[in-house]
Symmetry: C2
Subunit: 286 residues, 2 copies
């Protein structure tokens, strides 16, 4: 009998934080992908009406439930590449890989478990959110070769406290530190990402932390009409980037069309597919 994705997730959850970059976490994330993909493979798909130029979406369906929207050109059966990607990451040899291939694989792994939860739980947004943090946090840790922290000491004259943070990766003295917020989608809550970057800049000095949020998608489905839209606030992003703090990159698994255009304006905001990270991680601090 196939393994239950939720049982694998529970095991992942129990041990994840002890050693984020651990081999065991990589295995469990792979098993989770496999079990979820197996579950979805037996289900029907329904096409959704995409209001997003140039993108097609469908949803998995079980009984009367519909999963979140799945980007048809990104989602596929890439299970056999999961272990291979890990070899590339740990050996830093990406021969035969390109950014698109990595993005598609990771999009598919992320969406598989998210859709499984959509179809087997009622209104559970927390589990997909936490799972996606595990997936991205682990991949960052494995790429950078160090584990993240989620709290930093503040020593500011008579103030001596700890600041809770998103994942931060400290590469050591005189090297960049990464500030990694991870979200399945952002909408108007995105201002938090810039605000946390501002706090890091203020407390530790501008430029010490590279803000590199990773976001799954900005799609929203109207399940009754079976329509998919992307909710984007590009003008607000520009105002936040000018007036709150500077993010180094914004990575997406499914890059929204409107945000992609922010690469072209001045001052630009660098919005990229997550696959790019694996090719530029070393260069980002330069």
């Amino acid at each position: 009998m196939a393994k239950d994705p939720l049982r694998i997730y529970t095991e992942l959850q129990k041990g994840f934080s002890k050693d984020v970059k651990a081999d065991r976490n990589h295995e469990l994330l792979g098993e989770l992908y496999q079990a979820s993909a197996g579950f979805l493979g037996k289900l029907d798909q329904v096409e959704l009406k995409s209001m997003v130029p140039g993108k097609q979406y469908f949803a998995f369906t079980l009984k009367r439930k519909l999963s979140r929207a799945v980007n048809a050109s990104l989602f596929g059966d890439y299970l056999n590449k999961w272990a291979k990607l890990d070899k590339a990451i740990t050996s830093k040899k990406f021969t035969g890989w390109d950014s698109d291939g990595i993005t598609r694989l990771l999009y598919s792994a992320a969406l598989a478990f998210c859709c499984y939860i959509d179809l087997t739980k009622d209104g559970d947004q927390k589990t997909p959110g936490t799972f996606f943090e595990y997936l991205v946090g682990h991949l960052f840790a494995r790429t950078l070769g160090i584990n993240p922290e989620t709290s930093l000491p503040v020593l500011n004259l008579d103030m001596d406290t700890n600041l809770p943070t998103d994942f931060v990766f400290n590469l050591g003295k005189n090297r960049p530190k990464f500030h990694l917020p991870v979200k399945t989608s952002t909408r108007e809550r995105v201002i938090q990402v810039w605000a946390h970057q501002r706090v890091l800049d203020g407390v530790y000095g501008t430029g010490r932390f590279l803000g590199t949020p990773v976001i799954l998608t900005e799609t929203k489905s109207d399940k009754r009409k079976r329509e998919v839209i992307e909710i984007c606030l590009p003008d607000q992003w520009r105002i936040y980037q000018m007036h709150i703090a500077q993010l180094k990159r914004v990575y997406y698994l499914d890059v929204p069309v409107v945000y992609n255009n922010l690469n072209q304006v001045f001052p630009p905001i660098s919005v990229k597919p997550f696959g790019d990270f694996f090719f530029e991680a070393d260069a980002l601090g330069a």
Copy 2:
């Protein structure tokens, strides 16, 4: 037969934004208070175990449901004062009133409808949140004698867009503008309030907008154990106030003990009961 609170709320919702300070909104908010208080008056109360020093809490109960925590020393039958407070506000004559009395009245009006929703709906957090925005937005508008806006023009060289905002009140040229975020509770989402203030400071100039968020309470109940705690992050508030932006006041209907202490540290954060606002509104811009 008594009026159904939800029907009154629907009517309020339909017309509220057309003229926030309107007499009709005041009547409807009063009717809503009356109908909700009438509903609660017939219910049993259960005492909660308060983990907050110096405060007692209870909850209303209906069938197997429990309302949110109600502060026993703030909640009371002040229905007959609703119209009188309005006379004081519109005539700017507060003889016979003090801050405590106003805070208790407004706390009771706010909690009455929130508890009604807690007991008649499942997991509806949106309705109490929107209702509380109506209540506080209306009272600010009535006090300042002008209606709020929820969007501001940005004219910044080649950038010409609109910035969506919380309620902002523009008293006119050379006079203060108020930035009024309204929340039933904040927890870690509070960073948004400072971030929005930072955007206003950045786009329009520091000091032009007085940030005066109004928050209902920071209590959280464990319904199984019937315990009440206050969730407070005072060290983070201090870091936000030093590194993101400066809030002029933080008003509470039920001031958390820990945040009240922020008045005593240096640099202080001015945390006050909402009743204080009505006595200092004119002086805040000075």
